[in-house]
């Protein structure tokens, strides 16, 4: 008996997860639709979706902080901090996190948006518990070493050069967003302006980390072949003792004033073809108009049978590609974006005119019932298809949770189903107006030395 106990103890010691003795009594607030929802005493919210179709799982930590929360002059802080989150704690040194994950056949990564920052791992489901201790550790003990900061700052500058400075279409994107917002911090790019990046110091990162990386400002999402009850016990063990953030944290809100007149920006840069990007201010989900705007986006641009592709690419051949995207899944009101690359030898003005022509048509005449049906089918089908991937499922829950509550998923689908042809006309008239738009045009120039 004693021997067995010794053997058992040594087996447990080999398991790299701390066994916590404290009593675990999670509050299960809700159970439906397969989602188990918990909230720890320190404010950490946990969503677990058991999905046993494949032996895999994803573990994700979503922090409610993004580039919109950065102080002026420090754009890019959230994203640089996200990079530093891989640079270690006293317990696990730089990149040790990723090495442990990879050694176990998993992958890990992270991304930053204007509204939130997400860390995720994908594993075989028998290894998923590994993520728990590691994420709990870097939620509270990040080192942010000075030398590592300087080095990672250069890495991010290289990333900026790669994605923006040397990419003409993305450069235009940056210009148009900056011109669209005068007041709201959505104005600045997530990656940060180059001069701001240069000014970010170690202490800026540390203070920002301490202010925002707290359990009450985070949500854990797990989707996959896991046992929810076991997972929540382990999560409570590892995350339960982390101190919540300051209760009276100041939340500054910004309201972008109504735009009263078209804004135009031009970018002259070495490029092959002219490119057009147009942004209209629109409300965000779950505003009552957001559903119709979403359906409108699909009618205009949901595939090759959509109106914009048919007109600009297929019939008129003025554009090589064209996109419309209502981007309503933001914390604050954002934009309805249109983009098109001109075909060789075509004028960008013709592209722009053709685009407006399609928009104007929708203001005059409601779309066919068939078109509305098609858009709705596309949305419903994509919801089912996305469940093929645990990662995509977790992303969906996370995104709705960031907007307030994952249950908004149901409200979203209900809202979409109710959209009528008349609603489409109404939102097109209300938002897709000249005075409400910012138009950006990329004018290709040829550098002398380029052959």
């Amino acid at each position: 008996m004693e021997l067995i106990r010794i053997i058992l103890t040594s087996i447990l010691l080999l398991v790299p997860i701390s066994i916590c003795a404290s009593e675990v009594t999670p509050v299960r607030n809700f159970f439906s639709n397969g989602v188990k929802e918990y909230k720890l005493d320190n404010g950490l919210k946990v969503l677990i979706i058991e999905e046993h179709k494949a032996p895999v799982a994803t573990f994700q930590v979503w922090y409610r902080v993004g580039s919109k929360d950065e102080p002026i002059g420090k754009s890019g802080l959230s994203h640089l901090l996200e990079h530093m989150m891989f640079k270690g704690t006293p317990q696990y040194g730089s990149k040790v996190f990723s090495r442990i994950v990879q050694k176990n056949g998993g992958m890990d990564n992270a991304y930053t948006t204007k509204d939130h920052t997400v860390y995720y791992q994908l594993f075989s489901s028998d290894r998923i518990v590994l993520a728990i201790d590691l994420e709990a550790d870097r939620m509270q003990n990040l080192t942010i070493d000075l030398k590592e900061t300087l080095s990672e700052r250069s890495v991010v500058m290289e990333e900026r050069r790669l994605r923006y400075e040397d990419d003409p279409q993305n450069s235009l994107f940056e210009e148009v967003i900056a011109a669209s917002f005068k007041v709201h911090p959505y104005q600045r790019p997530v990656i940060g302006w180059m001069s701001d990046l240069k000014s970010i110091e170690r202490d800026d990162l540390y203070n920002y980390y301490k202010a925002h990386y707290t359990p009450d400002n985070a949500v854990i999402i797990i989707v996959g072949d896991v046992n929810g009850d076991e997972m929540i016990k382990k999560i409570t063990c590892s995350f339960g003792n982390i101190q919540p953030g300051h209760p009276k944290k100041k939340v500054i809100s910004f309201t972008e004033p109504e735009q009263k007149g078209e804004r135009r920006v031009f970018l002259k840069k070495e490029a092959e073809l002219p490119y057009l990007l147009i942004a209209y201010h629109t409300p965000h989900f779950p505003h009552e108009d957001s559903y119709a705007l979403d359906v409108l986006g699909l009618i205009l641009s949901g595939g090759k049978s959509s109106r914009l592709y048919t007109s600009l690419v297929y019939e008129k051949k003025v554009a090589l590609n064209v996109y419309a995207d209502y981007d309503g899944f933001h914390k604050d009101p954002y934009l309805f974006l249109f983009a098109a690359t001109a075909s060789p030898e075509k004028e960008i003005k013709d592209v722009e005119d053709a685009l407006y022509e399609e928009i104007e048509k929708l203001k005059k005449e409601p779309p066919l019932e068939h078109e509305v049906r098609k858009a709705k089918n596309q949305i419903e089908s994509s919801f089912i298809m996305e469940q093929d991937s645990v990662y995509m499922q977790a992303m969906k829950y996370g995104m709705f949770e960031m907007l307030g509550d994952w249950r908004l998923i149901d409200r979203y689908l209900e809202g979409i189903r109710k959209v009528t042809s008349e609603d489409i006309v109404m939102v097109a008239k209300k938002y897709l107006n000249e005075d409400n738009r910012t138009v950006g045009i990329l004018i290709p120039i040829k550098n002398k030395k380029s052959k």
Binding site: F86, K95, R161, L273, R373, M399
Partner: protein, 494 residues
């Protein structure tokens, strides 16, 4: 150029990943472009190739996978692989046709690609617009595209719409008519997109690199061809190419999803019953690699070549590499482990640790062997600000030398093995991925038990094997180096 198949995957926009994952793949559409309306730029050829390779280069430990897979060869010669999965009401279909640039004449480069593109642009029953309208109405997707070794037609459809889906799939596969006006239109789009891609430094670098390594072999050119060769393609060429190669005895049909064997059989009978076995044409032997390049091995002699492309850029895009190995090379697995340690292993690789983490000189640096039926390439790719180009190139060569000179550590070896063997369940975690994977292992004759055998292949690799393959397949003195940069600032040494 294709519009996003699933626009909903673009919902999460404006995001920045910590590191551009070339080897850790999942959803490339989702793969995090900055500008939400430009997800198409990520459909870059190297990336997709790498994806294809990855599918055949890692293992599934779990037996949940192979148990339910059935393989049959029909009377008309079509190989059918079926895996029944009822967890979701969806069906994923992948048809792999052995038709690719390997089967097209050099002066008509782009024929395989154009033929694939035209399948969805008109049949004897439907106009181009009818096809997209019908498939999009049911929220499904149906696409055809050509790669280096084969053409793939994929259908993703809800179970409730399976008949409609199969009807359209069968129509584009069996009854394409290649309308002249659609050919002209599609040519214009392809040429336009080739021109637009000249804006991308990585596109310029890849194109120059492949041309130099493979010379006149079809692997040395773009699948799309070039403006000149596209103009040479006639409707008759496409009709002939289609009728020569789009045959059941030249194809693999892989189906994963909520479909029983009986349901599948009746679908095949109903929608593909008229697809007849025809003898394949004789394919003349392809130009030997040595004619053009071999990436440093021209005419049996080892050489070094530096190609500089001057553009007004802030970063130098660098590719250094040479000829690699074909997929059937027995050293494939030792090479996989070696490359993981050198530059394939994401954050853990030596190149990443040194050039990104220690030197802070790049956002991403990676190495890969891209292995096809008839050969492959080895390449290291990186972007760094113009004036660090030389330092980074030196470090790349130093790392290539190091792995050829010293044995890797025990820890590096075991980490690489445990990643490669342990990552499989995750990498076959969707029906779409499994459908593509099954077709690919059949094409490369890896056997349905490949997933069980793979860990053995990887685990048998020793430190000596790694040293041996590093010495055999890496050439730090004889390579093709492509640098797209502001050359005045980069000042790359010859």
């Amino acid at each position: 150029m294709k519009i996003s198949k699933n626009r909903r995957t673009l919902i999460v926009s404006l995001i920045f990943i910590n590191f551009a994952l070339l080897f850790l793949i999942f959803n490339y559409v989702f793969a995090l472009d900055v500008n939400p309306v430009r997800a198409h730029v990520l459909k870059d050829e190297a990336f997709l190739e790498q994806q294809r390779n990855d599918f055949v280069s890692t293992a599934l430990k779990s037996n949940t996978f192979s148990n339910g897979v059935n393989r049959t060869v029909l009377q008309n010669g079509l190989t059918v692989i079926h895996s029944e999965k009822h967890s979701l009401p969806i069906v994923m279909v992948t048809l792999l046709v052995k038709a690719s640039p390997l089967n097209e004449p050099q002066e008509k480069a782009g024929l395989a690609n154009l033929t694939a593109e035209l399948l969805t642009e008109g049949t004897k029953n439907r106009k181009s617009s009818d096809i997209s309208e019908e498939i999009e109405f049911i929220g499904a997707s149906l696409n055809a595209s050509a790669g280096k070794d084969y053409t793939v037609i994929t259908l993703s459809v809800l179970k409730k719409d399976i008949h409609k889906g199969f009807e359209l799939f069968s129509d584009i596969l069996l009854h394409p008519v290649f309308p002249q006006n659609e050919i002209e239109r599609e040519k214009g789009l392809i040429k336009g997109s080739l021109r637009q891609r000249e804006e991308e430094p990585s596109f310029l670098a890849e194109r120059a690199f492949k041309r130099e390594v493979f010379g006149e072999h079809p692997y040395g050119r773009l699948v799309e061809g070039s403006t000149e060769t596209i103009d040479n393609i006639k409707r008759e060429d496409m009709i002939k190419f289609y009728s020569d190669y789009f045959l059941p005895n030249n194809s693999i049909l892989s189906i994963v999803g909520a479909l029983t064997a009986n349901e599948l059989n009746s679908l095949i009978e109903k929608y593909l019953g008229e697809w007849k076995n025809v003898e394949l044409p004789y394919n003349p032997p392809l130009p030997p690699f040595s004619k053009g390049g071999l990436g440093g091995f021209s005419d049996g002699k080892k050489i070094k070549k530096v190609i500089k492309i001057d553009k007004d850029l802030t970063q130098a895009t660098i590719i250094l590499g040479h000829f690699g190995i074909s997929r059937d090379n027995p050293d494939f697995y030792a090479v996989s482990v070696m490359n993981y340690i050198l530059g394939g292993g994401g954050f853990s690789s030596r190149l990443m640790q040194s050039i990104r983490d220690e030197m802070g000189l790049a956002y991403d640096v990676h190495s890969f062997f891209s292995s096809h039926k008839q050969g492959g390439i080895f390449q290291i790719g990186v972007q760094t600000k113009n004036d660090s180009a030389n330092i980074v190139i030196d470090e790349i060569r130093r790392q290539m030398n190091r792995i050829r000179e010293e044995k890797v550590s025990d820890e590096e070896l075991s980490d690489a093995k445990s990643y490669l063997t342990g990552s499989f369940p995750r990498r076959l975690d969707t029906n779409r991925k499994i459908a593509d994977f099954l077709a690919t292992i059949e094409f490369y004759s890896l056997g349905l038990d490949y997933v069980e055998k793979y860990p053995g292949y990887i685990n048998s690799v020793t430190k000596d094997d790694i040293l041996k393959v590093a010495r055999k397949y890496l050439y730090p003195e004889h390579y093709i180096l492509v640098v797209v940069a502001n050359q005045e600032k980069a000042m790359v040494r010859q």
